[in-house]
Amino acid sequence: MNIIVCIKQVPDVTEVSWDPETGSLIRKGIPSIINPNDKNAIEAALQLREMNGGEVIVISMGPSQVEEALRETLGMGVDRAIQLTSREFAGSDTWATAYTLGLAVKKIGQYDLIICGKEAIDGMTAQVGPQLAEYLAIPQLTYVMHIEVKDNKVRVKQRLGDLDRLLEAPMPALITVEREAYQPRVAPMDSILEAYGKEIPVWKPEDLSGNMENLGLKGSPTKLRKVYTPKLIKGKVEMLEGGPEDVARQFIGKLKEKYII
């Protein structure tokens, strides 16, 4: 079976530091990584390939350095990687991103499953997966913890809040996987050795048969109005002083004051 995995290269937002003088974010020098949740998607695809045969193709839309991320997926063992890089794609919101990825999927042609991470650590919108599924008019199976392919159908365990559901759909279908599922493997050494020998084609708008109006900033229905760093509310904190026993007594005193106990 043929599986397409969509990945996003993101800044490692957990490694962000703040300038103590200005109180602003230091954006320079933040390493770029494959969105961790996308690695769960790749792992799911690799396991399904191990069981059912076929090919795993990874696609990603981003600036030129997304090539490193795609190279890393080849190191994990995927068969092919395709890059979507062009100035016209820049500034895409989730709608335009889903549209662009959809054009690439249509160009690839035959596939049984599309697997994505649920969300990316920078935007955390979790929108591209469902939007892509809608564009391709295929079923979407979200919050997936486990995937099984049988008799030309796909069956998933979905964790929908506090409901555990077992869903079944015909293929092709799109799946978004949870971070707790399919822990990514360590890139095997033999795949790594082959990774740099493979070509990663770069597709641009002219390679995709789509509507230019729907790409990039121009094609995005949502627009960013402003970005600012959140101010921590500077309230007046009352410090409780003294040794552990003293502060413990004051602590309980305050709880009583507020009728908490």
Partner: protein, 338 residues
């Protein structure tokens, strides 16, 4: 993409209401509260959209919580959430009735539904918002959400496309007051639904056996962070939470250390909580965490570092070693109880 619509034709604020066994989800009620405010500013009607089975009473309740009208899709096939059916029904009504704003709770269901809807409707959708407002001058819906992993805040608008959609984080908006004297209109939709037309089948649906703790419901939370850096201290904090009749919450650190499951994580990549009491133990106050609890009624922070960020948002602060302070509190609490 070029918008081919006349946005002036679009009026009204819609709230998608999620329900389980007839009970509306808390986040949907929170959105009715906020929706009321938005509708007032826009001078329009607030509509609740309810799908389910045998939900007539629920519909009435929504009016009590602020809806002027409730569009009801009542059908056995809608009892459980179905992406295809819900998307089809709502999008058809949106295209017919043209609301200018459509807000959805960013619950798992909401986050499955809203993006699919937004793509079908060629609408812009802003996910996981923590703030909603109206730019009255330009008659624009303005959404605020954390970005860049929660390190910055972004305000987003959807100038040319309708409806302007947002999903909103549970626990952020206040729950509105219930007024059972309120009156409104209920619109029952005529439905022709066919199970065979649904590609996705639900084979099984059970209440999750897994965790079952929703810390968003907890009124008291004792949270553990990096400064409580070991198992013994964590066990002490668990005891304190129990004594206070509360739940244990955590920063990402504790979750990654394996002491608690992810559903107890509070913050940008976890849950948002607004308990009556929040006690932070060994928590520095990095925005990734505080953004998830800053609206707590009473915040008490215990940290070794007098310059910790958390003291800027706390009501009461204790500079001390969690390992010494927490046992003292536990012992004092036990004394007081006897």
């Amino acid at each position: 993409m070029a918008s081919k619509i006349d946005i002036s034709e679009y009026r009204g604020v819609w709230v998608f209401v999620e329900q389980t066994e007839g009970a509306p989800a808390r986040v949907s009620l929170e959105l009715l509260g906020k929706g009321r405010e938005l509708a007032e500013k826009l001078g329009v009607v607030l509509t609740a959209f309810l799908l389910g089975e045998s939900v007539e009473d629920t519909a009435k309740e929504l009016i009590f919580f602020g809806a002027d009208e409730v569009i009801v899709a009542d059908h056995p096939l809608l009892k459980d959430y179905r992406t295809e059916l819900y998307t089809d029904i709502i999008s058809e009504q949106v295209m017919a009735r043209k609301p200018e704003v459509l807000i959805v709770g960013a619950s798992p269901i909401g986050r499955d539904l809203a993006p699919r809807l937004s793509f079908r409707l060629n609408a812009g959708c802003t996910a996981d918002c923590t703030g909603l407002d109206i730019d009255e001058e330009n008659r624009l819906f303005v959404s605020t959400r954390p970005a860049f992993g929660g390190n910055v805040m972004a305000t987003i608008i959807c100038p040319e496309h309708r409806p302007q959609m947002s999903t909103v984080r549970p626990g952020v908006m206040a729950l509105p007051e219930k007024d059972d004297k309120r009156e409104g209109q209920i619109i029952d939709l005529e439905l022709q639904l066919d199970e065979d037309a649904c590609k996705v089948k639900i084979l099984e649906s059970v209440k999750g056996a897994s965790e079952g703790v929703n810390i968003q419901d907890a009124e008291r939370i004792v949270a553990v962070g990096m400064g409580a850096g070991d198992k013994e201290t964590f066990d002490m904090i668990k005891e304190l939470a129990e004594l206070l009749d509360g739940e244990v919450g955590a920063t990402r650190f504790a979750v990654e250390a394996g002491w608690v499951s992810h559903d107890r994580q509070i913050g940008q990549t976890g849950k948002t909580v607004r308990p009556e009491l929040y006690v932070g133990c060994g928590i520095s106050g990095a925005v990734q965490h505080t953004a998830g609890m800053s609206a707590s009624k009473t915040i008490i922070a215990i940290n070794k570092d007098p310059n910790a960020e958390v003291f800027k948002i706390a009501d009461y602060g204790i500079v001390g070693d969690v390992r010494k302070v927490v046992p003292a509190i536990i012992s004092e609490l036990k004394n007081q109880m006897t």
